[in-house]
């Protein structure tokens, strides 16, 4: 834990006015350096251990800021763990005495971290016309951090400032042999990488950074030195603290002859931004999907739902003029019943489709033996199969096991088998073969092959999987089956393919994501 007097001494001899506050609801003044006392004419005892907002009227007036604004800056500096910089404002309410002290400049408020977290806030005032002999020194140091590195003129306030930043800052000495040696790293380096500062300073880059990152950064260093300009890139690294995505920037520091003797580097952790970006992409995809669903929904409402409704409407309008107890009247009633039943079926379909989409994320999945489920679906279709005098052969490897929702696998098998029976050829006896292929390059597959009437895929294209699209006018059907099969297999992370020759038969291949052992 930093002691108060340590902090006070860090700023004591700075030529710029400095104030250090404790991080509390009513901050206490922990340190106020000589430069500050001289600037505003405070006595040491007027400030130390006093509640900041009670003792600093002159101070706030000189900066042209009020208590509310300062409190906000404090919160911002703590929340962002970074320095907040503001220009000194000329305030109309300032007294003659304080306004004469307003030389123009800026002030910076930054947090100071100890082991216990952010414990202090420092306020440093940089005045443009104050002590010009010291100012350029400070500016030069800030640009190259050289004074910190060489230790020739230890500027403790600067070191503290650099150490309290959450961005990694480092400098590398460029040696005549072409090697790079760490000459300085700040505390954030340790926080980010988990490597202690003492074990890094003095070491060569190739001793610290592992491949494959090493080759990449060496290339970038070379580029910065050759081009004599800053080079930046993004890198993904594994640290003890987890995977980080960082934006790295290196600047060559040149000597009087224009040769690069040092590289100054800054690493900015952009992991949160990258994560936000990825979330944004996901959100956009979801939105796109939702929008497409909505369009399809609208299509169903305006086309498919409207059809039986229009029929019912027409029938009802005619009915009052149809003599009851006639044959025609009975026809009207029967048609009306069918229309309303159709209306209900479409609503049920809509409900089913929407519930598949909705539950995609929280789908209950278990180990499913596909062969077993396929037999169950075949049993449910036994009557239809017998009626068609068809032959069904199921040859699925008993070990063909997937992580899936059982009801979906059942629906896939049932719909494909039921389609094969429905669309059989009138010219020959129906034969259906179901086989498995666990070693296919395209993923573990189940093939449903029939010798039915086939589909002209050149005409139909992708439409065959679309909702309420039908390709046979002689068979009952609502165009729901293949749409459901596709929706279900996709919800399980797989996909479906179709091959067909009109007049010969069709093969539907269902590909699962992976088998489980």
């Amino acid at each position: 834990m930093l002691q108060n007097h340590n902090i006070a001494s860090a700023f004591a001899y700075s030529t710029q006015p400095c104030l250090v506050l404790s991080r509390e609801k009513s901050p206490l003044i922990v340190a106020a350096n000589k430069a500050l006392q001289t600037w505003l004419g405070y006595a040491q005892e007027e400030l130390l251990n006093k509640v900041f907002f009670n003792a600093s009227d002159k101070f706030m007036a000189a900066l042209g800021v009020d208590e509310l604004e300062l409190s906000e800056i404090f919160e911002q500096a703590i929340a962002t763990k970074s320095a907040v910089k503001r220009n000194i404002k000329y305030s109309v309410t300032a007294s003659a005495e304080t306004s004469s002290k307003q030389n123009g400049g800026f002030y910076e408020i930054f947090p100071i971290e100890t082991k216990a977290g952010i414990s202090y806030l420092a306020i440093q005032i940089i005045l443009h016309t104050l002590d010009t002999s010291a100012a350029p020194q400070a500016h030069k140091s800030a640009a190259s951090t050289k004074s910190v590195v060489s230790g020739s003129a230890p500027n403790q306030s600067l070191e503290l400032l650099i150490d309290s930043l959450t961005n990694v800052i480092f400098t590398l000495d460029v040696e005549p042999t072409g090697l790079y040696r760490f000459s300085f790293v700040n505390r954030a380096f340790q926080v980010t990488t988990g490597l202690p500062v003492e074990k890094v300073i003095g070491k060569y880059v190739h001793e610290i950074i592992p491949e494959p990152s090493l080759s990449m950064v060496l290339e970038k260093y070379k580029e910065a030195i050759e081009k004599k300009q800053q080079v930046s890139w993004q890198e993904v690294s594994q640290y003890p603290t987890g995977q980080k995505i960082a934006e790295v920037l290196v600047v060559p520091v040149l000597n009087a002859k224009g040769e690069c003797f040092q590289l100054a580097g800054l690493v900015h952790d952009i992991t949160p931004f990258k994560e936000a970006e990825a979330r944004q992409v996901r959100l956009t995809q979801d939105l796109y999907q939702q929008n497409r669903d909505l369009q399809q929904f609208t299509y169903i409402i305006s086309h498919n739902l409207r059809a039986p409704l229009a029929n019912a409407l027409g029938l009802v309008r005619h009915l009052p003029n149809v003599a009851p107890e006639t044959n025609l009247f009975q026809q009207y009633v029967a048609h009306l019943k069918t229309s309303i039943e159709n209306l209900d079926k479409i609503l049920e379909d809509l409900n089913l489709i929407l519930s598949v989409r909705d539950r995609q994320d929280q789908l209950h999945k278990e180990h499913v033996f596909v062969g077993e489920v396929c037999w169950q679906a075949a049993q449910a279709l036994e009557v239809e199969l017998k009626h068609a005098a068809g032959q069904l052969e199921i040859n699925i490897d008993p070990e063909f096991k997937v992580q899936a929702n059982r009801a979906y696998v059942y629906s896939i098998c049932y719909n494909l088998l039921s389609n094969a029976i429905k669309y059989r050829s009138k010219e020959r006896l129906l034969k259906i073969k179901v086989t498995s292929d666990s070693t296919s390059e395209d993923g573990p597959a189940i093939h449903f092959t029939d010798n039915g009437s086939g589909i002209d895929l050149q005409k139909a294209g992708d439409d065959i999987f679309k909702l309420y699209t039908r390709f046979h006018s002689h068979v009952e059907g609502r165009g729901m089956g293949l749409f459901l099969v596709k929706t279900h297999i996709e919800a399980l992370g797989g996909y479906i393919k179709v091959k067909s020759t009109p007049g010969q038969g069709t093969t539907f291949s269902v590909f699962f994501k992976e088998l489980v052992s």
């Binding site: 305006s302 086309h303 409207r306 059809a307 409407l313 027409g314 005619h318 048609h335 046979h472 006018s473």
Partner: protein, 126 residues
């Protein structure tokens, strides 16, 4: 007058038939559940046999209303001029209506269910 109805929905055909009967118009009616069968028939019919009015549904399996109109383009011009095609659809989709109105063979778009007013307007035309 010859009238043809092309619609895959038998209830809809029943309704149109009954509506025509109620209007008391003397008509020769041909109904088709499949657009493809209707097209074959149109190709073979003589000019006299051809319908004066065709009520065409849009949403049909295998060959839909749009595809029918595409194929209709290939008939001899004399045949095309004999038949007045009216789209009779349950769709309320504005895009469908606009697309239909742009088609040179389409004389009008009627939304199901067909009304006496619709029929009155159409049957006076030819």
């Amino acid at each position: 007058m010859n009238i043809a109805i092309i619609d895959d929905d038998p209830i809809s055909i029943f309704l149109t038939e009954q509506s025509l009967l109620k209007e008391g118009v003397e008509v020769e009616l041909q109904t088709y559940l499949s657009a493809e069968v209707a097209l074959q028939e149109l190709k073979q019919q003589s000019l006299q046999e051809l319908p004066d009015v065709i009520f065409l549904d849009l949403n049909m399996p295998y060959m839909n209303g749009w595809q029918f109109l595409e194929s209709f383009r290939l008939l001899p011009v004399a045949k095309q001029e004999k038949c007045s095609i009216y789209i009779l659809t349950s769709s309320l989709d504005i895009a469908d209506t606009e697309k239909a109105n742009e088609n040179m063979f389409v004389k009008g778009v009627i939304h199901k269910p067909i009304t006496p007013a619709d029929l009155g307007a159409i049957l006076q035309l030819p």
